[in-house]
Subunit: 231 residues, 2 copies
């Protein structure tokens, strides 16, 4: 609790600053801090909806969120967002609308900052602008990998990719507690939840992983890598 309050007290003391804000001066950081306010979301709550105006830069400071496109009858999860990362969609520089929705997967806290201040800093600080472009680029590269996985691999390969994403990029440990639902797993890998469940079961039966309750452990990462690569 004390931690949370400290956390909220000032951008300069927040671990946010090690991230995209690393190129900001104390003065610039103070500007962000002055316009910032903090919001809590319960698991399942919507943070913003696709199509709505986008007045804030959202920085997730605790919990886990997902960003997802609401498509034709089902959702595609573009990414999971964990602390300290931000949500900043492509609409900001186009028509100020969200092109995807965001919601809390676990209980979340987030700091919201006025987009105008963010844009002002992009114009005034070239290092910050470059860092921002770099991050947008990394996101694009990630999306390229994702679209190739989704369109050119069969279900086993896609589930393998999602498991690596979760263990390497999101939970960052090997036996990890799966805090997303099977439906989310399906929405990450572009298949029905029934198919996702069946493939997890197969992987269990083949000894590639264990999954008891929601604790998933990858036992044979080599074989899983192989499955990822052979589609």
């Amino acid at each position: 609790m004390v931690n949370k309050l400290q956390h909220a007290s000032n951008c300069a003391d927040c671990n946010c600053k090690v991230s995209i804000f690393k190129n900001l001066s104390p003065l610039e950081l103070a500007l962000i801090n002055s316009s910032r306010f903090q919001v809590s979301y319960k698991a399942g709550e919507i943070i913003f909806k696709q199509g709505t105006p986008s007045p804030y830069f959202v920085c997730v400071t605790s919990g886990l969120a997902k960003i997802y496109i609401e498509g034709y009858g089902k959702n595609l999860i573009l990414a999971l967002i964990k602390p300290v990362d931000y949500i900043f969609g492509p609409g900001i520089y186009v028509d100020n609308r969200h092109y995807y929705s965001a919601s809390a997967v676990e209980d979340c806290q987030a700091c919201l900052v006025d987009v105008a201040i963010f844009k002002k800093l992009i114009r005034e600080n070239p290092d910050f602008a470059e860092e921002f472009i770099k991050r947008v680029s990394l996101q694009s590269i990630f999306n390229f990998d994702q679209v190739i996985s989704l369109t050119q691999k069969q279900m086993h390969g896609r589930i393998a990719d999602v498991i690596f994403y979760l263990s390497d990029k999101i939970y960052c440990q090997n036996p990890f507690e799966l805090t997303i639902s099977r439906q989310d797993l399906a929405d990450l890998s572009g298949m029905s939840k029934e198919s996702a469940i069946r493939i997890l079961k197969e992987f269990k039966e083949e000894g590639i992983l264990t999954l008891s309750g929601n604790t998933l452990e990858v036992l044979n990462p080599k074989q899983l890598r192989q499955i990822s690569e052979t589609g």
Copy 2:
């Protein structure tokens, strides 16, 4: 021929300047112009390969090119590039590598500009930087639409989307001359070329379009839109 030489003579006189370069001063444009050189590509030739270093900003000044990801055994075409548009991948601000390949679909001419000069202008001219971010954002939004089409629509809907892309965004006329191959059509819509051909045939039989030789005319855009939307 005279036209081509004029075209090549100076960035300031080139129609490139109405595009992303609109925010550059004459001096900045002259800087680009001084480092620029022009290259011709025959149809089918590779402009650059995925994975190779990316020292140039490529501006297509005539013809038609494609950018495509070489995936697991097949290609995914991300976009067709027509004059005057540029090719500038996400690797520039990451590791200076190409994350997709580019090749000429029709005979092409392109101007190459040193990436370092481009990056310098991004740092020095905030209007140019904003315009660049806006274009990167538009590309992202386009990719979102594409990935939803590819992962959530059936083949008929995907082919409908590609036909609209070609007639509205690329050839920009209604009876249009299809200069891309059936394989390209398949690589745009994420299916086998046999399937792409079969669906075109169905659309012909249903009177939605005519396709004689390579001249394609959309006869019933409303019905085609319907097919696009119902997946």
